[in-house]
């Protein structure tokens, strides 16, 4: 049984410390996977972060043994968090590069950023997402699963143990809230 599968089983069996062992493992695997991809693909190619998460899942989890969505949810929660950290780290780095923070780093023409996700936006989103998670943990989790682990609303609903309709409501709200927040509108007085 793989380490991750073992941990997932431990979570199912109620081991309170098992979940925290998951993140570092998944994080490592994602970094490794990404590195491998980068080595094999042309430098200007972009990486699909969510595809990476799914590949990590296939590699780390004995699918035959883990069919219940409950433990898959734990995996994707960890994976989403791991991917978030990786992407945010990268975004920070890119940003400091742009500002000339470290001129010896990789030249800018090689870090062709994906048009839709400038690092500023990513960092802003992350900040907003942190706030949303504080105010509404379920909505925050849902966004993380969708955005960083590439789950569909239905899949995320399963992972979070929500009804699909509820999940869509959370998603609708979270989408609007984050959009509003990142667009620069001040938080509501309570936020």
């Amino acid at each position: 049984m793989s380490d991750v599968t073992r941990i997932l089983c431990a979570i199912e069996l109620g081991d309170p410390h098992a979940a925290e062992q998951l993140l570092p493992l998944v994080y490592e695997e994602l970094r490794k996977l990404a590195a491998q991809k980068m080595a094999h693909e042309a430098p200007d190619q972009t990486l699909q972060a969510t595809a990476l998460v799914h590949e990590a899942y296939v590699r780390l989890v004995d699918v035959e043994k883990v069919q219940q969505w409950n433990s898959r949810g734990h995996f994707f929660a960890a994976a989403a968090e791991a991917m978030r950290r990786i992407l945010i780290d990268r975004a920070r780095e890119k940003l400091s590069l742009k500002r000339g923070g470290d001129w010896r780093r990789v030249p800018l023409d090689r870090v062709d950023l994906q048009a839709g996700t400038p690092p500023e936006d990513l960092l802003a989103l992350d900040e907003a997402l942190a706030e949303l998670t504080r105010l509404d943990p379920t909505a925050g989790q849902l966004v993380k699963l969708r955005y960083f682990a590439g789950l569909s609303v239905e899949e995320a609903a399963d992972a979070l143990n929500l009804g699909v309709a509820t999940a869509y409501r959370h998603w609708t709200f979270a989408r609007a809230w984050l959009h509003n927040r990142v667009a620069g509108n001040p938080p509501d007085s309570a936020g």
Partner: protein, 912 residues
């Protein structure tokens, strides 16, 4: 959740589901006079309506380019005199480029650039030491290292121009190697593409082992041996394998012997697509599964799935069945042997490995005798161990000196001081590594580092304090290594019934005592407190010492020295801070089996080293907790499948558990044997498993092998005799038993067996003589009061009685029967047994035609009276089976007698 937030959320969700034309009205209605709430929900609705939200822009979320550092070397980059042409490889450590040299000669070569981040001070120091050694390697099967250096260590070397000298972005030095360019393909790929047979594969592989050995002799470990690092190119139409990429891999990689093994395994079975970290474990499992033979092939077993076999086999030029057979055969031994957890031998195995494979190739494939080959190998390694180890150290010292000389003699003269300083700083770095390895409890690595430090000291590095530090570390680590070697090499001897010591455990006990004595701690004389105090003074290695003490404890238990074992346990407890081990040792001291079982179930378990777990399993097993003991050994085996002792004792304990577990017992014993094919005791153990399985044919092979390995091994001779015996080859059997007695006059089972065999041959008089031979009685171990003594004596008399019965010799039979009853120590059942034999004399005498009428009557009367007398004794000692008395056919002639009836009535009454 914040109430305002929640309120705005609910209103938003309620409104958003309605047609947008109604929103404004609904909003006014829901928020009333709360203008702030109104504003918030309005913003949310607006955001919802707009298509281009932050999340929308990332429908197919893509990571920015280069989650990973993309390096800025590219074709055209110039490094020293080399110009990169194209990238030809990528590994964990760096990238490999085909490069061009124009000056002084024009040629193509391979340049390996170490990745940034691998540039810690330690790595660089090691790199410094190794680059010189690497340059000295000269072997046809090693890609020659032509040059090495570092780039970009000076800030001014940095430039933004891609054609300029390259530097790691962070500005620190990046080492690079320049190597011979091998235009080959990975060895596994080559073999498959050219449809090589296993034999051809192995022939290609042998030079690889020799190359690795060559490197070892120069103190260089590859650390990342894998198919991609062994390239095959054709020179003059002949394939030649070359090992590339020496000496630059991570120090934390798996051990070399494992690597070599995995490589061989891949080569033969064509399994490559593993993750590196899983590779070793997976191959390991595969090998074990194949060897054990008891597990039915599972779909995942690569060599047994029918749909995979043909293609693999086609590539290997063999029929599927034959390939499977080949891999299952002798090679398993070689592979398992190479898996032995003997870190200290890793510098010596590569060549031995090659020799082994060569032997395999030379021998008949099926009848090849790897164990004896391994035995020879082992002996060779043992003979040369010290020489090899010392050689390596000297060589390193020489190298360092030579490295300086080679540069320039003048330079050396001028810069003596600088050289000293350099050595000293290198020494400091190496010592730091020693410290770190010690902290991480990597004893073998720490020893290797300490030896490197010793070499630096020998080359003139360091001041008195550092030298002192080096020699202290060496003394400690050599003790640790010696102790580990005792465990790895100590012998197996079957524990014989009735004997409470085994010679092997006695020997190991002596070895452990001697090792500690040499270290200056005489554990046989010192008080517990004093021993603890002294061992505690070496804080770096106390954990290793305590673990070794656990194994020593195990030996003392095996030797029957419980007090001595407890003393060692107390010392181990005194010096080892580990909570789990302390609890185990304490619970054992108090014989608290429940606590021990609890500890065995704790999650800490898996973090513990094999010797302690082995001890725990044995303590439980011997303490009447066979189930728990077996469970501990099983779990340990799953964690350390390559540990000989765990497999061995699991085999033994499972056999003890019962016939239903014999199959499993054999499986583990086979694994143990594969790990130590030179152990006569293990061959014998398996032989006796097989005897129990009623497979004397097979058992004969095993016992014979044991005798071949150790001609003085009495149990193996006895076992072989028993195997012949059950094949009705009685002459051979008797010869074996006699041989057993000759080499060990105390082997009681062999005595009994000789008598039984003589009887089987119809040599009844000889048999009787044998059973009455005083030598036999003298060989029974222990004291007549002991249970085991009585059992052996009973055995002897019973077989004697049976022989005499066949001879119809009632006089002697009555004597023997009386003897059975005639000691103060025989329990009532044995006494009763004696009565039966005497009673049988009654009918024998009645039918004895040689007797005169009067004499016959007299004898019959006498025997009957004697039998009843003995029965009375039995009853007096507690015999109370009235039914047995009245049913036993031997007593038929007695039943009419008044005294017999009275006795039966007496027993009956007692019962009520």
């Amino acid at each position: 959740m914040n109430t305002d937030f929640e309120k705005s959320r609910q209103i938003f969700l309620a409104i958003v589901e309605q047609p947008s034309t109604q929103w404004d009205a609904l909003l006014d209605e829901a928020c009333g006079k709360d203008s702030e709430l109104h504003r918030q929900v309005a913003l949310l609705l607006k955001a919802h309506a707009e298509g281009e939200g932050i999340l929308d822009r990332n429908e197919a979320l893509k990571a920015p380019t280069g989650i990973y550092e993309s390096l800025n070397e590219r074709p055209g980059t110039v490094i020293g005199p080399y110009k990169l042409l194209q990238q030809i490889g990528e590994g964990g450590m760096g990238t490999v480029w085909m490069a061009e040299q124009t000056h002084p000669v024009q040629r193509k070569l391979a340049v390996k650039l170490i990745k940034p981040g691998m540039d810690s001070r330690q790595v660089l120091a090691r790199f410094e030491a190794e680059r010189q050694a690497l340059a000295l390697m000269d072997h046809p099967n090693i890609a020659k290292v032509l040059d090495a250096g570092t780039i970009g260590s000076e800030p001014e070397a940095l430039a933004r121009d891609s054609a300029a000298p390259l530097a790691h972005a962070s500005g620190s030095a990046r080492p690079y190697f320049v190597m011979e360019l091998v235009k080959g393909v990975p060895i596994t790929k080559y073999c498959d593409e050219h449809h090589l047979t296993p034999k051809q594969r192995l022939e290609l592989f042998i030079p690889v082992c020799q190359a690795v050995q060559h490197a070892h002799q120069k103190g260089i470990i590859h650390r990342d041996l894998k198919p991609n690092n062994v390239l095959v190119a054709e020179y003059d139409d002949k394939p030649v394998a070359k090992v590339i990429d020496f000496g630059v891999a991570k120090a934390t990689g798996p051990r070399l012997t494992d690597r070599t093994m995995v490589l061989l395994y891949e080569l033969l079975t064509g399994t490559t697509p593993f993750e590196k970290k899983h590779l070793q474990a997976a191959a390991f499992d595969e090998v074990l599964r194949i060897i054990r033979e008891d597990d039915p092939p599972k779909p995942s077993t690569r060599l047994s799935t029918t749909d995979e076999l043909p293609s693999i086999a086609a590539n290997r030029g063999l029929e599927p069945k034959k390939l499977s057979g080949l891999v299952r055969g002798e090679l398993d031994w070689i592979v398992m042997k190479s898996l032995e957890k003997d870190r200290n031998r890793r510098y010596e195995t590569a060549n031995g490995f090659a020799a082994e494979v060569q032997r395999y190739l030379n021998d008949e494939p099926v009848q090849a005798g790897p164990p004896s080959a391994t035995y020879r190998l082992r002996k060779f390694a043992r003979r040369n161990k010290r020489a090899l180890a010392t050689g390596a150290v000297l060589f390193l010292a020489l190298l360092i000196a030579l490295g300086a000389v080679a540069g320039s003699v003048g330079w050396m003269m001028r810069d003596q001081e600088a050289r000293r300083a350099k050595l000293a700083s290198q020494l400091e770095v190496v010592l730091e590594e020693v410290e770190q390895q010690l902290r991480e409890q990597n004893w073998a690595e720490a020893l290797a580092a300490a030896r490197r430090a010793e070499a630096l000291v020998a080359g003139g590095g360091g001041d008195a304090v550092l030298r002192q530090q080096v020699s202290a570390a060496l003394v400690d680590l050599i003790l640790v290594k010696d102790l580990e070697e005792i465990r790895l090499n100590r012998d197996v001897r079957l524990k014989r019934d009735g004997s409470d010591t085994t010679p092997a455990d006695r020997q190991a006990d002596g070895q452990y005592a001697a090792a500690f004595l040499e270290y200056g701690v005489d554990l046989n004389r010192l008080s517990e407190q004093e021993a603890i105090r002294r061992l505690q003074s070496r804080p770096h290695v106390t954990v290793a010492l305590a673990i070794a003490l656990d194994d020593w404890t195990n030996c003392r238990i095996g030797k029957g020295d419980v007090a001595g074992a407890r003393m060692l346990g107390a010392v181990a407890r005194g010096i080892d801070a580990d909570a789990w081990r302390t609890q185990v040792r304490a619970a054992w001291a108090q014989e608290d089996w429940k606590a021990l079982e609890g500890l065995a179930a704790s999650p800490e378990f898996l973090r513990q080293p094999p010797p302690t777990l082995h001890l725990l399993g044995m303590i439980l097993g011997d303490g009447g907790k066979l189930e728990s003991g077996i469970e501990v050994l099983r779990k340990t085996q799953a964690r350390y499948p390559g540990d000989f002792w765990i497999n061995y004792h699991l085999g033994v304990k499972l056999r003890v558990k019962g016939p239903a577990y014999l199959e499993q017992a054999i499986g583990f014993s086979r694994a143990a044997l594969a790990l130590r094919p030179q152990s006569a005791g293990t061959w014998t153990t398996l032989g006796s498993h097989l005897m129990r399985q009623k497979k004397p044919d097979e058992a004969i092979t095993y016992f014979s092998k044991a005798i071949e390995l150790d001609p003085k091994y009495a149990d193996a001779h006895n076992g072989l005799g028993a195997a012949f015996h059950s094949q009705k080859m009685l002459d051979d059997a008797i010869a074996c038993y006699n041989k057993a007695i000759e080499v060990d006059p105390k082997i009681i089972m062999a005595y009994c067996n000789v008598g039984i065999a003589l009887r089987g041959q119809g040599k009844l008089e000889e048999a009787v003589e044998w059973f009455n031979n005083p030598k036999y009685k003298a060989a029974i171990p222990g004291d007549p009061k002991d249970r085991s003594y009585r059992l052996h004596w009973l055995n002897n008399r019973m077989f004697l009685c049976m022989t005499l019965l066949s001879m119809k010799d009632h006089r002697q039979l009555a004597m023997a029967g009386r003897e059975l009853a005639d000691t103060d120590y025989q329990p009532e059942k044995d006494v009763y047994e004696g009565a039966i034999w005497v009673a049988k004399c009654v009918s024998l005498a009645e039918k004895d035609a040689r007797l005169a009428e009067g004499q016959r009557k007299e004898l019959v009367q006498a025997y009957a009276a004697q039998a009843i007398d003995i029965l009375k004794q039995a009853v007096a000692r507690g015999y109370k089976n009235a039914r047995g008395l009245s049913k036993e056919p031997a007593f038929a002639p007695l039943r009419s007698r008044e005294d017999f009836q009275k006795l039966v009535a007496e027993v009956d009454a007692k019962k009520k």
